[in-house]
């Protein structure tokens, strides 16, 4: 399923562009802090990974009242990825260009605003644009409209794991007719409604200390922090020589009665087989890093089973951004590609790994020969996904 990545852009709490994010990450910066975009005093989860300096200035003004924040950020990153690819859309057949994004919850902040209108003023005050602004497929739709993409398109909803599944689906489309795929995910649920929805899982960190709120694979791990952002990628069947390619993907769904992550190891094996690689061919793993003890143990067990204890270097740069729904997994893929480009493993900020888990966690940015990277993601509902990028 070789699909070459010819364009990347990132938007995250660490930066509004690919290189800004990457530099801040390697410099050891954290994008986590006390929530600023809404009053979080009444909620138990005070820390967020927010994109504080985003303004939709570069978007057509016509789009702003009709779109959620996550769509606006997605549109900016999609334009950045197309721009990075150097593709001149006027020179390609629109029917050959598709869009495949992932979504976790749709436009949550927009939905909250309109629900408040409905509840406090009545149905006449709900924006007509709510009909699509909340919708899971809205980013795919708005990107398609803005860039004139008319090829096979869609959206994947599989919680965080969808951020990998969408890229794998886009790669498969290249083998079935599309010449160009815009894929990945940019996600945000940064509003009170989003916060309480995540809090209801019981897995959100209650720490008020930004540097200790999200510590995956650490003995102190007590939940994850909600972030926003993600990455978009442009896939083509030929390489322009700058970035890596999508080599393999595997996905499984856990029995809801089984322990979490039971099928994660199987997803890794499927991805390795698809890429025709052995465990020893993987130089770095970008972990799902759920940040709860039980889920971290399950992921560590899968890694130890396949790679052996304390072997392959593992990293979770999302410790510096928080988990942004399926945006997290797409961002991990973008960072995996940059790790290969720069032969550098990005750090897992603030974490002191629990040695008993057997995971060789990278706490600081590390120069390392990298050919192939395995990216893992799990989602609420039992979704496990593994994607391999490499050269």
């Amino acid at each position: 399923m070789t699909a070459h990545i010819n364009g990347i852009d990132i938007i995250s709490p660490l930066g509004l562009s690919r290189e800004e994010h990457w530099k801040a990450l390697l410099d050891g910066c954290s994008g986590l802090g006390p929530t600023q975009s809404f009053d979080s005093a009444r909620y138990d989860n005070p820390i967020s990974g927010e994109i504080l300096h985003f303004g939709p200035d570069e978007l057509p003004k016509r789009l702003v009242p009709a779109t959620d924040r996550m769509t606006q950020m997605s549109l900016v990153a999609a334009a950045g990825a197309f721009d990075d690819s150097g593709i001149d859309m006027s020179q390609v057949d629109p029917l050959d260009v598709g869009v495949m994004t992932a979504a976790t919850a749709g436009g949550y902040a927009f939905g909250q605003k309109e629900l408040q209108n409905l509840w406090s003023k009545g149905p006449k005050y709900v924006s007509t644009h709510q009909s699509y602004a909340w919708f899971y497929a809205v980013n795919t739709g708005q990107i398609s409209i803005r860039h004139g993409c008319q090829g096979h398109s869609g959206v994947i909803v599989a919680d965080d794991a969808g951020g990998l599944d969408a890229i794998a689906f886009a790669a498969r489309r290249l083998a079935r007719g599309n010449q160009i795929m815009l894929t990945g995910s940019v996600d945000s649920t940064m509003c009170p409604w989003g916060r309480v929805a995540h809090a209801s899982t019981g897995h959100l960190s209650k720490s008020a200390d930004a540097q200790a709120a999200y510590l995956p694979f650490d003995e102190r791990a007590a939940g994850w922090v909600n972030g926003e952002g993600g990455a978009h990628l442009v896939l083509q069947s030929h390489s322009d020589g700058r970035y890596a390619a999508v080599l393999g993907h595997g996905a499984t769904v856990d029995d809801p009665r089984a322990a979490p992550g039971t099928g994660l190891g199987q997803a890794i094996r499927i991805a390795l087989d698809a890429a025709r690689l052995r465990p020893g061919d993987i130089q770095v793993v970008f972990a799902d890093a759920a940040g709860t003890r039980e889920a971290d143990r399950a992921e560590a067990a899968a890694l130890v089973e396949i790679f052996g204890p304390h072997s392959v270097p593992v990293t979770a740069p999302k410790a510096a951004t928080g988990r942004m729904g399926c945006g997290t997994a797409s961002l991990d893929v973008a960072m995996a590609v940059l790790a290969i480009r720069d032969q550098t493993i990005p750090p897992t900020l603030n974490v002191e790994a629990d040695e008993s888990l057997g995971v060789n966690l990278c706490g600081v940015a590390t120069q390392h020969p990298i050919t192939n990277v395995l990216v893992l993601a799990r989602g609420v509902g039992g979704f496990n996904s593994a994607l391999i990028v490499g050269t």
Binding site: P60, K61, R62, L63, V64, P65, A66, K124, Y125, S127, T128, H129, S131, Y132
Partner: protein
């Protein structure tokens, strides 16, 4: 004589509900151009009409707005409904 909805009211409803495209000057283009030429799709037209309706306490069915092509047609439809409603009450 009931208050009439003006082109300025319509302009404000468009701006607040759906935004304005770059290169579009609602002050000059609103009287001469169709909604589609101004960059508004059917949902933006519906949003604008519903805003004018609720601001003026007029009961308007969504279907009123489905066949409107220009701002002037919308203004006429809204004002006609306003007169009808005021004649009844």
């Amino acid at each position: 004589m009931p208050a009439r909805v003006t082109m300025n009211d319509l302009k404000r409803a468009l701006e607040e509900g759906s935004g304005v495209d770059e290169g579009v000057d609602l002050d000059t283009d609103l009287r001469t151009m169709a909604f589609s030429e101004l960059g508004y799709d059917s949902l933006a037209v519906l949003e604008t009409g519903l805003r004018l309706g609720r601001e003026n306490n007029i009961e308007l069915d969504d279907s009123v707005f489905t066949d409107l092509d220009t701002p002037q047609q919308m203004l006429d439809a809204v004002n006609e409904a306003l007169e009808r409603q005021s004649a009844v009450s």
